[in-house]
Symmetry: C2
Subunit: 254 residues, 2 copies
């Protein structure tokens, strides 16, 4: 399996703290050593750093951990491969352009009997079940919405409606974003927390790091973090129930 | 204007030497300080590092310069913006998936009167003439080839046939790759060199660096580098003539 990390915020925020915790699970405190990736949205654009090397050894992961890129929407993934070999094209997150918007996706889980997923418009580059499912989702969205909707929220709600068809094929925990909305669909394991004023301190589970969010934030900041398993030990994370989803827009649950 | 750099090789090769020269032109020996980007193909996948900061100041550019990523196909670009503001979504190279292949593109030049470019299938994320032209090219390719051809060479030859329509709108120097083929279309400035055994030494024009390729290569290596202006001072670069193109496949001119 893999681990997912997502962030949705109302002001550009760096994810160095949470990412530091996740990285340890990529071959150190966790077995997810088959590559990692992270996508940051900045304005309408996004950039992805990825590496088929274990995150705990990756030079690029070190840069990302120490170089604060501020973003309102982030998706990250560390991989323990099952379907598809360890290589760059099988490394999450995956991004495709839809209606002039960058759409980014990462998946935790494993699917079976997916031969009926035959996307036409978008096609997978690698050979993971995950990327195939992403292409299928986008294809279905393009079929449903023949023109670009003014508001993207209905598109994400439709993706959440489609997700149970993928969950029926196995385990399908998913993060999906356009840089403004972030959809978290849960098959079995996905947790979230929204931090807002008054901010407190938090300590990571996987590495001995404590952060005082009070010092890093302004009173109006709203920052939601989503992760396969809680990343901090002294905060209350909400579990998303099986087959349920949460849709966030710029940090707030909608 | 901007500067382009491309590499096509028959074995995975690092581009650190050439990239070091290009970087200096990003705000140091050249005025191209409005961002930079580089895309490396590894297997069927590719990864892009980009930054709207000047390349000579960018932390990420420093990593790319010192961390040798070996690739058979690379496209890089440093930007001096004209159409579109300085931001991530306007930073080259641009990548889109076509028939399950990552297609990457960068453009040097400026276009006018491009309102008739109305791509449907692919749409630009940013507001540059460059990305619009890329989307239009891919749209035209999808219209021409209704199913994925076995051999991608005819697709690149078709792109070269389309390019004069873009050149007619201004200046259009372009690099386009699928990781195996690399098309270089010249509007006014594009040079290339193929290095093969016996390898010699080369010294960069923009920074005091000399490399002995003999020590870095094996006798069967074939490495072509394409750049807006020659990057080395002691080698003979070929100029591509106005309106002409060169198509390379894994280092060799085809």
């Amino acid at each position: 399996m893999c681990e997912l990390l997502g962030m949705s915020a109302n002001v550009p925020t760096d994810i160095c703290f949470s990412f530091s915790g996740l990285l340890e699970r990529g071959g150190n405190t966790g077995p997810h050593k088959d590559g990692w990736g992270i996508t940051f949205y900045e304005g309408k654009g996004c950039r992805t750093f990825k590496d088929p090397l274990p995150s705990c050894e990756s030079e690029i992961a070190k840069l990302v951990k120490h170089y604060p890129i501020k973003s309102c929407s982030v998706i990250s993934h560390i991989r323990q491969g099952n379907r598809g070999e360890v290589c760059l094209e099988n490394t999450h997150p995956f991004t495709r352009e839809l209606w002039g918007k960058e759409i980014t996706y990462a998946h935790n889980g494993q699917l079976s009997d997916y031969d009926d997923l035959q996307p036409e418009f978008y096609q997978p580059v690698g050979d993971t079940d995950s990327e195939l499912a992403f292409c299928w989702l986008l294809d279905e969205i393009r079929k449903k919405f023949t023109v670009k909707p003014q508001d993207m929220a209905p598109v994400f709600l439709y993706a959440a409606q489609l997700a149970p068809q993928l969950k029926a094929k196995g385990v399908f925990n998913m993060l999906l974003t356009d840089g403004e909305h972030l959809l978290a669909y849960c098959s079995n394991n996905l947790h979230w927390i929204t931090r807002r004023a008054p901010f407190g301190k938090a300590s990571l589970i996987d590495v001995d790091v404590i952060i005082d969010f009070q010092k890093e934030t302004t009173p109006n900041d709203v920052v939601t973090v989503i992760a396969t398993r809680p990343l901090t030990e002294n905060e209350d994370w909400h579990k998303i129930e099986e087959g349920e989803f949460k849709l966030f827009k710029l940090g707030e649950l909608i």
